[in-house]
């Protein structure tokens, strides 16, 4: 890849009309002593500029691994198949150096634990400034000034003073704000957020969710928001994909998904949540647990826990099919 022109540096005309991110038939496998662990089993989705895609599922469903694949950060012993196109460029063909330029600039990622992204021995202002020096070629002084502006943008009070603080001097909420500021430093077109509020208290979670919505309004960035918490995703997402055991089992607009969930897994997830407006003696449950990601299992991966499954479900894998409403579901027995 040439050094002079970075095709991903500015949005092209094509990017305005095609989705920002297109993931096609992505699969991720890891060799283990017991056999091949199939973390992601052929998933496809798109995110348009300025929109938020919620990715919902339980531990081991492949939602975080999918995000790492977009970032080009799948551990090196993993095999990644399929295509990931960002602003029209196939990321599979990107060299390591070009990928590094892309990460932290046009695609940024934030994690559940802000300390994983922060260096404990460097003041937060300097860490953000470093990103600006690296990706925007700013001088040290200009970068430091910009860092303070970004800390202000993400709602950190007395940003100039806080810029000199080390990460441990900030509260959990303030740390996550600082990480968001660092992500914004590269002016991302896509922000991937993996459970960014899970470690936070509920009032602080509400603040961070509001901040993300506000920043999206201001910058027009797209967000891929990964969470196990349906309520959180519901408040942020335009569209949602539900993942189960490495596959997308349902995809719909947020409104459709919660109004008319079609897959028995999605229906189960929603039903098991305690609700403030009703109180049953017994909550509905989904029996059993998620299947072993190693080794094969014929048919639908949810069949063993599914109230609707029959013999047919254990033979063939239901494809993700899109209905006339635009709502997609991978189930032979989907509720209509």
């Amino acid at each position: 890849m040439g050094l002079a022109v970075n095709p991903l540096a500015t949005p092209s005309v094509a990017a305005a009309t095609t989705p920002l991110l297109v993931v096609e038939d992505l699969s991720i496998e890891f060799p283990t002593e017991r056999g091949v662990l199939r973390a992601v089993r052929g998933i496809s989705y798109e995110i348009a500029a300025g929109r938020t895609l919620g990715v919902v599922g339980e531990s081991g469903c492949g939602k975080s691994m999918t995000a790492l694949a977009v970032m080009g950060l799948v551990p090196s012993h993993g095999a990644v198949g399929g295509h990931i196109r960002f602003m029209g460029t196939d990321l599979a063909g990107l060299g390591e150096a070009a990928y590094r330029r892309l990460r932290g600039s046009r695609i940024a990622m934030i994690f559940q634990e802000p300390m994983t992204a922060l260096n404990p021995v460097i003041p937060v202002g300097d860490q953000i400034g470093e990103v600006m020096q690296l990706h925007q070629g700013l001088s040290r002084t200009a970068a430091r000034k910009e860092a303070v502006r970004l800390l202000d943008d993400v709602g950190i009070p007395s940003p100039a003073a806080r810029a000199a603080d080390y990460p441990h001097q900030l509260s959990g909420g303030m740390r996550q704000r600082a990480v968001i500021a660092m992500a914004l430093a590269g002016d991302p077109a896509l922000l991937i957020a993996d459970e960014p509020t899970t470690a936070l208290d509920v009032t602080i979670q509400a603040q961070i969710l509001e901040l993300m919505l506000e920043l999206q309004d201001r910058t027009g960035m797209a967000i891929q928001f990964i969470s196990h918490n349906l309520g959180v995703v519901s408040e942020l997402a335009d569209e949602i994909i539900v993942m189960y055991a490495g596959r997308v089992v349902e995809r719909a607009t947020a409104a459709d998904l919660f109004a008319t969930p079609l897959h028995p897994y999605t229906r189960g997830l929603i039903a098991t949540l305690p609700d403030l407006t009703r109180r049953e003696v017994r909550l509905p449950t989904i029996p059993g647990g998620v299947p072993d990601p190693v080794g094969g299992m014929a048919g639908c991966r949810f069949a063993d826990r599914c109230p609707r499954a029959d013999a047919g479900c254990r033979v063939a894998i239901p494809p993700l099919e899109t209905l006339a409403t635009g709502h997609s579901v991978a189930c032979f027995k989907a509720a209509a």
Partner: protein, 320 residues
Amino acid sequence: MSVVALSTAAPPPILELDKLEISFPLEGGRILRAVAGVDLTLARGETLALVGESGCGKTTLGRAVVGLYPPTAGSIRFHGQSGGTTARRAIQMIFQDPYGSLNPRLPIGEVIAEPLKIHRIGSRAERRERARELIQQVGLPVDALNRYPHQFSGGQRQRIAIARALAPEPEIIVADEPLSALDVSIQSQILNLMAALKESRGLAYLFISHDLAAVHHIADRVAVMYLGRIVELGRRDALFARPSHPYTQALIQAIPRIGQGKRRRGRAIAGDVPSPLAPPPGCAFHPRCPKAQEICRVERPVLASPAGRPDHAAACHFAD
């Protein structure tokens, strides 16, 4: 104004916390008052939820109830008595982390029988028989007794932790965030199990959680803590339908809800929880409170019943 003891109808409390204070000395002569004067009661068969954000003192309070921390001041009385081996047997605990709370080197049968061994209850054979009963009561097969903790999922381990807590036939179980490490689809299984055990054994729970939806499901009464103090206490329905303290109102507002659509703005209260090392003067919540007035910065409100709500208590100069 006097502090209201919210006695729950008829049954006398089996557990009484009276002006309980738990402080920790820190280096430099500073003192962390994790629990700063709490009055609470728990009746037989009752579920009292203790909610609040990190640093509010709820975990410290729960650990003090099971005897892990001695009171710095005030008292914890179980059937009228302070401390003692009876309380230690009859008040058991389950923890948030089902991975860290089980000894990885013991087979499950011994994990469950351990509290019996510690309290010298029963013979070896009797303890083994008891473990057999308990493992089935928490919904696991008997052959689980010969396996080791790492062979189980998070939800199964929490069932094992519950079986262990049940072994010495406790009257009270202190459950500290028992759901938060579990997957969504597993949480409802554990909530149902806890409800069924309460029903069949007349257990009382001190259910410590930041998850208000789970609290709404399981609690009879709810106590809301902020910086070491109870700021609101009431029956579950009243507390959720008509929260009295601005902090409780903010907590309920902040619960993410499904299906209400994107962008419901302006529900977040500003600011962080202040350090318990330097609680704000007056009402500790005043720097974040939308209702705060001059008096809130100066005078700490006591926990008292708002007008016309004898069954409810809030510590706020402007309680609803």
